[in-house]
């Protein structure tokens, strides 16, 4: 049930047990995506670019979206910097949303918000890999980190074309 964190030998008596809540929040998939974010970079022919920020912690995301003929998400990329939760959430989101219709994106957004905020609901299977973010619900201060990329994509759909900004804090 517990495992030892591999501690530096120079530290005396360093038995720092790993804690289940930490492992639940920072699942291996999340750490992997935060270290090696997917769909990270520029999208030169993007239709819309959204700059999102979380002023409470300085996290920033630049989201670029290209739509297909039917208005669905043909391609989506992000760049920026932030905590492991915000980076992994953005990375996982772009993988999940590529090729999805507007309606599917909006449905997914609502399901994801429920996933990271509601304590009781069963995670819908449709969320797939995104379900690794469920641990966030035990850390209310971190919900904004998880939602930053999703707020940006919501804004991208609303805006449709050009540039926009979005913030986790209402101005």
């Amino acid at each position: 049930m517990f495992r030892f964190a591999q501690c530096d030998n120079r530290v005396r008596g360093a038995f720092v047990f790993m804690i289940p809540e930490i492992e639940e929040l920072y699942q291996e998939v999340i750490l992997d995506h935060s270290r090696r974010p997917r769909n990270f970079g520029e999208l030169p022919d993007a239709a819309v670019r959204v700059h999102g920020d979380n002023p409470a912690c300085g996290d920033e995301i630049h989201l670029a979206v290209k739509f297909d003929a039917g208005g669905g998400l043909e391609d989506i990329k992000f760049s920026g910097h932030g905590c492991a939760i915000s980076q992994a959430s953005a990375s996982l989101m772009t993988m999940k949303l590529k090729g999805k219709s507007r309606a599917e994106v909006m449905k997914m957004l609502r399901a994801f918000h429920d996933l990271v905020t509601e304590g009781t609901s069963e995670a819908p299977k449709a969320l797939g890999d995104l379900r690794v973010m469920q641990g966030v619900r035990k850390f209310p201060q971190r919900v904004k980190c998880a939602m930053l990329a999703w707020r940006a994509v919501e804004q991208a759909l609303e805006q449709g074309v050009g540039e926009a900004t979005v913030s986790t804090e209402l101005a």
Partner: protein, 412 residues
């Protein structure tokens, strides 16, 4: 001499005065390293609040009954206690406010409203807390005044050699922090005040991070105005102080109109009390002031020289031990520093680090610490800050280092 003072105190016994230090967080003994945000409260302060509400509670300066007399006496005694603590010439120079932020806003709005006009300059530093920046931005917007900033060197100290070119005759006020809440830098307050005065500017010192840590005397520092909060020095939240030289306060117009601050009122106009009461419209935080006086008594019982010695030793020890961690950058001066250390680690973002540490009972703060321009100056979006007070121990710092080692392994 200070060393003797610090060594003569049983710091482990002092911890017993703070009931909250027996708390657990996530099943671990609490390690509270967030005293720069707010300090914990000793039993003596908690008891003073309780005693007031159980035995003396009434409104001040108006009732002719016994309780009102007691409450008024305790409230005004607290004012005198604050005056003595900071070396003010008299209790009339002490205005009770809600805290540092309100104190600075009071000055910006009353003094600023009367004496500042287009073309004037308020000199600040890049290391100011938002509470000593935003009120001046609002004033500048209202009046057409300009803001100017003393830059910060890479080592976290002020670029003092720039001062003479920044302090031009348009500068009406130089407002700066005593100790930086992110860097731990201790600014040379007396020197800064002297330089500002030499060109006729007034000075305001943000003493939020020094008031409970350092012995100082406003008349020796030579500042005209000084602001601090009670809650960072073992006192309750919601009580703070604006100190101002008497003739300066007297020259400032009233702020919040209402009861308590007037002499007489007709339907057309009013006349106002003298300072400090003219700035204390409405029922003040009576219990807060009494709690603040109890906090001062408590701190003076230990002695500020010993507290400073102890706290800065902890901060230096923490800064030294943090260098053991791979990919860790410490902000702020390498030598003497206030009771805090801010750092960034390649392995993890400040919010991930503080979430991780919290699971082990270690309370630190991650983020911009109300210092967004300073964070930009150092090219970081935020830092992790461990801040200390006299109830902290080197053993707790050792534990922090163990937890941070575990975090490095976990996030790398």
């Amino acid at each position: 001499m200070h060393k003797i003072a610090a060594n003569a105190i049983d710091w482990k016994a002092v911890r017993q005065d703070f009931p909250i230090l027996g708390e657990q967080a996530h099943g671990h003994p609490l390690i509270y390293f967030d005293s720069a945000a707010t300090s914990q409260k000793p039993r003596a302060v908690i008891d003073a609040l309780r005693n007031f509400y159980e035995h003396d509670n009434a409104n001040v300066h108006r009732g002719l009954h016994t309780l009102s007399s007691r409450a008024t006496e305790a409230y005004e005694k607290a004012r005198q206690r604050v005056a003595d603590y900071i070396g003010a010439a008299s209790a009339e120079e002490i205005v009770f406010t809600r805290g540092t932020t309100e104190s600075i806003n009071l000055v910006a709005q009353t003094w600023g409203g009367k004496f500042i006009s287009e073309g004037d300059v308020i000199l600040l530093t890049v290391m100011e807390h938002h509470s000593n920046l935003v009120p001046w931005q609002l004033l500048a917007e209202r009046t057409g005044a300009r803001l100017r900033f003393v830059p910060v060197r890479d080592d976290g100290t002020l670029e003092l050699e720039k001062l003479s070119s920044l302090l031009t005759p348009e500068v009406k006020l130089f407002a700066f922090t005593y100790i930086s809440n992110s860097l731990g830098t201790i600014n040379p307050v007396a020197e800064l005040c002297e330089k500002a005065h030499s060109i006729g500017a007034l000075t305001l010192v943000d003493a939020a991070q020094s008031i409970g840590h350092l012995p100082f005397n406003v008349r020796e520092l030579g500042c005209d105005l000084l602001a601090f909060s009670g809650h960072k020095m073992c006192g309750p939240t919601g009580i703070g102080v604006l100190y101002g030289r008497a003739e300066l306060l007297d020259s400032m117009p009233p702020w919040h109109g209402g009861g308590e601050m007037i002499v007489s009122v007709t339907l057309e106009k009013s006349t106002f009390k003298k300072t400090p009461h003219r700035f204390e419209g409405g029922t003040p935080n009576i219990a807060g002031a009494i709690g603040l006086a109890a906090a001062i008594d408590y701190i003076e019982g230990i002695g500020r020289p010993a507290i400073f010695e102890h706290d800065s030793q902890l901060a230096r020890y923490a800064a030294e031990r943090l260098t053991e961690l791979p990919g860790t950058r410490i902000l702020g001066p390498s030598g003497e520093r206030g009771a805090l250390v801010g750092f960034v680690m390649d392995a993890a973002h400040p919010h991930d680090l503080t979430t991780f540490a919290d699971q082990y009972g270690l309370a630190m703060r991650g983020g911009h610490h109300c210092n967004q321009p300073l964070m930009r100056r150092f090219g970081v979006s935020g830092t992790t800050r461990a801040s200390f007070y006299f109830y902290n121990t080197t053993e707790e710092i050792d534990r922090m280092i163990e937890i941070l080692h575990a975090a490095v392994r976990f996030f790398s």
